[in-house]
């Protein structure tokens, strides 16, 4: 789960990472009132779950309250397009107003899970405020790394190594190390999968701040962070994906016209791949899980079909333990109830497969039964054209 910048800063501040003074607002009037509290002008920052906001016009300076009103008025409700939002952009519903700070240096701090060593790794780079992936590919050596031992956090010596390694002036090393240790503590405490401060700044008067912040939370650990669940912003998610998540379905909308319903994540991805291979384009990723119930299949169908681009549907189930006759019965019931008009290709394998095929064929509905994945993909792509 992703959270907004201001929410991430709220979390970080709670663990002792210095963040600029700021306030999140929803209207230009609120922006004007909030801006009065800052004497040296404010930075107005659009709050959407996407990076590259500055380039897209989502970060603006306002020298006084009047200007803050005007900037917020323009920003709120606008479609912000960045390299991460896609061409359709994201509507801005809230903006963060922050004190403007005198920047001396911009650095990068981040923590991710390093799969190869099975633990989180703390990354630091003297070059901040820019796209870190770009830095990583241009000069990988400039990114300093320290592994975090689970339960131990970032040790002070590790933080000092990173701080000196980034070339911070000795007078700032203490404050920077403290902030880094706090960032690591926050990462572990909230079960983040990613925590990033880019840029982490040193001001001309020697203070350090998280000028931007990004936190992604581990969905598998949300059960022990009920307070953080409130931070979910449904405006930032595709409505169909939100709908699917309520039924425990893993659905991701894509831009093709072949709807897919598959059991298992790997097979679901492979099904998308083979549709492409057959000359078509998948409309979605949809994993109904290992033991999909009739209700889940029905909901999966409904969500799949509400995508208006879908011209044909491929159901690819490797039953194994899930019985094909049960599946077929569920599919027929769902297709009848939802009055599905588009052609449906069904490929299924597993226990009672013959009985399952018979149920589909005798249903009087527009089913095409396929043998194997290749046949299924070719048939559905033809039907979608």
């Amino acid at each position: 789960m992703r959270v907004h910048e201001y929410q991430a800063k709220g979390i970080l501040a709670g663990y002792g990472v210095p963040v600029p003074r700021g306030e999140v607002v929803y209207t230009p009037e609120e922006a004007e009132a909030a801006a009065r509290k800052f004497e040296n002008g404010v930075v107005v920052k659009a709050q959407v779950h996407a990076g590259g906001r500055g380039k897209g016009g989502g970060v603006k300076l306002a020298k006084d309250a009047q200007e803050a009103f005007a900037v917020a008025k323009k920003m709120l409700g606008m479609k912000l397009v960045t390299h991460q939002t896609g061409p359709e952009g994201r509507t801005v519903h809230r903006v963060l107003l922050e004190e403007a700070l005198p920047i001396d240096r911009e650095l990068y701090l981040g923590i991710v899970l390093d799969r190869s060593i099975g633990k989180p790794v703390f990354m630091a780079c003297a070059e901040g405020g820019v796209d870190i992936e770009e830095v990583a590919s241009r000069s990988p050596g400039s990114i300093l790394k320290e592994a975090i031992e689970p339960g131990q956090g970032l040790n002070p010596f590790q933080a000092r190594k990173l701080a000196f390694g980034m070339g911070l002036p000795p007078a700032a090393v203490g404050a920077a190390s403290k902030a880094m240790i706090a960032l690591a503590r926050a990462y572990e405490s909230v079960d983040a999968s990613l925590a990033e401060i880019n840029p982490f700044i040193l001001t001309t008067d020697g203070r350090v701040f998280a000028l931007d912040a990004k936190i992604s939370l581990d969905d598998n650990a949300l059960y022990r962070h009920k307070d953080l669940l409130e931070l979910r912003d449904l405006n930032e998610e595709d409505p169909l994906e939100v709908d699917a998540s309520r039924f425990g379905l893993n659905y991701i909308k894509l831009d093709g016209n072949v709807g897919c319903m598959v059991n298992g994540a790997g097979l679901a991805m492979a099904t998308m791949d083979i549709i492409k291979y057959a000359g078509g384009n998948p409309a979605n990723f949809l994993d109904v899980g290992g033991g999909a119930s009739a209700e889940q299949i029905q909901n999966a169908f409904r969500i799949l079909i509400s995508d208006k681009n879908v011209r044909a549907v491929l159901i690819n189930i490797f039953g194994g333990i899930l019985r094909c006759d049960v599946l077929a019965t569920g599919v027929v019931a769902a297709a009848k109830e939802l009055q599905i008009g588009v052609p449906i290709v069904v490929r299924m394998e597993g226990t009672n497969v013959e009985e399952g095929r018979r149920i589909l064929q005798e249903s009087g509905l527009n089913f095409t039964v396929a043998e194997g994945m290749r046949d299924a993909a070719e048939k559905v792509v033809r039907l979608a054209q």
């Binding site: 799969r115 991805m269 194994g320 333990i321 290749r374």
Partner: protein
Amino acid sequence: MSILANEDTRVLVQGFTGREATFHAEQCLAYGTRIVGGVVPGKGGTSHLGLPVFNTVQEAVSGTGANASVIFVPPAFAADAIMEAADSGLELVVAITEGIPALDMAKAWSFLRGRRTRLIGPNCPGLISPGKCKIGIMPGHIHRAGRVGVVSRSGTLTYEAVDQLTRLGIGQSTCIGIGGDPIVGTNFIDAIGLFNEDRETDAIVMIGEIGGTAEEAAAAFVRDNVRKPVIGFVAGQTAPPGRRMGHAGAIISGGSGKAEDKMRAMREAGITVCLSPAEIGERVKERL
């Protein structure tokens, strides 16, 4: 022969009395697996499916002589169950549970270092040595004993590949689902290394997916160490970046984890890379 498990493996079920555990334990027993008991804290002294239930893994090991376990414990408690199994000296632990918090797994992973336990999973279908033993949730009947080793990050996609092999008359020595999480106990290199040493495995199928760089690392290992034919597939060639595709570990992030990079590395290492998931069986047949 087979790797990791055979007809003599004595298996405990952790979380034995749960619905899923019960169902799959019955299936494993029917397949011929030597399930010798289970562990459910607080239910020690009772019996389930005609087998003894213990409070701790330690007691269960003393009571049954088990040397392996399969874990169906709910995600919040599963990392702890893994550590308990390792602490009791079990040689093989298969964690089926999906949804374990990543930092819990990081802790368990550190705990396993220096211990003799081999962990398979979590978030995996388990492993099967056809005709000998099944420690997992895969449908036994699609498998057939033979000489091809299969290792995969996926569940149902593995069934698909195995089904293609079996239909072509190609049997399997052992099939291992290593799991779809970012941190797993056994990686491609471990499994491919074991198959490479196994005198009764003639070829290896590896099924990867987007996310991380385990396939690239495995490709380098194959190039340097493996002389048996290796046939591979990578799921998620059409997956968009930045989205988690069902598995916690299946995500292209920060420009790494793309299918095309994995496929290129595998091809350069001499691995036969299938573009379509429908051709895995045929490609194996060609290389045998």
